[in-house]
């Protein structure tokens, strides 16, 4: 699958803003929201849309990636993992854009 050259953070911030330059970006973002919400009707509808628009293999792979971050987020948050030294400065603008600075884990990982 391909994407346009210019990529923004819209699909990360929420699923209403657009694809952010990533093919099916908004749809994949909505899939993540449905997995998180565990609303079976919402999830069934989005999964059908993903299969129709992108294929069943994309659905399986996308669910696998999203599920993986139920592990990574819990490892990071339950161990007080701080940002890597080399990524603090370069990620300032990104963190502002995607709105994660208010998270408890931002404050607590520094303790």
């Amino acid at each position: 699958m391909n994407q346009d050259a210019e990529v923004t953070f819209e699909a990360i911030d929420n699923s209403e803003s657009g694809d952010g330059g990533v093919e099916h970006g908004a749809l994949l973002s909505r899939l993540c929201e449905a997995i998180y919400n565990e609303d079976q009707n919402q999830l069934a509808s989005i999964k059908d849309q993903v299969v129709e628009s992108a294929g069943a293999d994309v659905l399986v792979d996308a669910v696998a990636v999203s599920a993986h971050f139920y592990m990574m987020t819990r490892i990071a948050d339950a161990t007080g993992t701080p940002l890597d030294a080399g990524s603090v400065e370069p990620s300032i603008q990104i963190r502002e854009l995607v709105g994660v600075n208010a998270f408890t884990s931002r404050r607590e990982a520094q303790k």
Partner: protein, 227 residues
């Protein structure tokens, strides 16, 4: 026997790795026996399937919620529920209160590894309406429960080894078996951790790397994870 039976085009490496993870959960750890590690996975499932509790509510204090014959200590049960259902609310003070109840810091790290893996594997099955992976018989060997003097609390709340790599890989370095399990899952569900920054452009199975990162970042944000 494969982990899942489905008509979906499930990759064999995913199926095999989830089956392998179930076997690893049943293996004797450094701090928890095979039976206790499987009890941790079962507790993750209970936490996910029960009526939600507020973050400040401890399941061990809710009458009738946790059976009296549970093989896990109350602090472990409370940690499993909180990490599973409210990861975005975890604080250094909360962590201190858990290990302050007698849970060894390295045992806590092993618990985090198993809890996190079970959340990933079960979330995958649930989202695709698959039967959750079945749990094998536990190993009968007893864990060594022997502190490693080479691991220390430095950058994280938990003790870590002096290894190079991203801080999230260092997080479970006191329990290398869990770090290995994390990397097994990463290689089939995300990106091999060795390629994390070395290759930013290659497709990952049916997804472009940009699609993978959108999904990763959106999911992390929904889980209120800053890292």
């Amino acid at each position: 026997m494969p982990a899942y039976s489905t008509e979906l085009p499930l990759r064999s490496d995913l199926n095999d790795t989830h089956e392998e993870l179930a076997k690893r959960w049943a293996t004797t750890g450094l701090w928890w026996s095979g039976a206790e590690r499987l009890a941790i996975v079962e507790e993750v499932r209970s936490a996910r399937d029960s009526e939600p509790l507020a973050p400040w509510e401890s399941p061990s204090q809710v009458e009738g919620l946790i059976p009296d014959d549970n093989v896990l200590p109350s602090a472990a049960v409370d940690a499993i529920w909180r990490i599973t259902n409210h990861p975005g609310t975890l604080t250094a003070e909360w962590h201190a209160s858990i290990v302050g109840q007698g849970l060894d810091p390295e045992a806590y790290a092993e618990l985090v590894g198993v809890v996190a893996q079970a959340n990933a594997v079960d979330r995958f099955a649930d989202a695709l309406n698959l039967e959750r992976v079945s749990l094998p018989e536990p190993s009968r060997l007893e864990p060594a429960r022997s502190p490693d003097p080479s691991v220390q609390v430095s950058s994280h709340w938990v003790p870590t080894a002096q290894i190079k790599g991203p801080n999230v890989v260092k997080a479970l370095s006191a329990v290398p078996f869990e770090n290995e399990s994390m990397q097994l899952l990463s290689s089939v569900q995300y990106v091999g951790l060795g390629d994390l920054l070395a290759d930013l452009v290659s497709d990952q199975n049916s997804l472009s790397r940009m699609q993978v990162e959108v999904i990763a970042a959106r999911t992390s944000k929904l889980n209120e994870c800053f890292y």
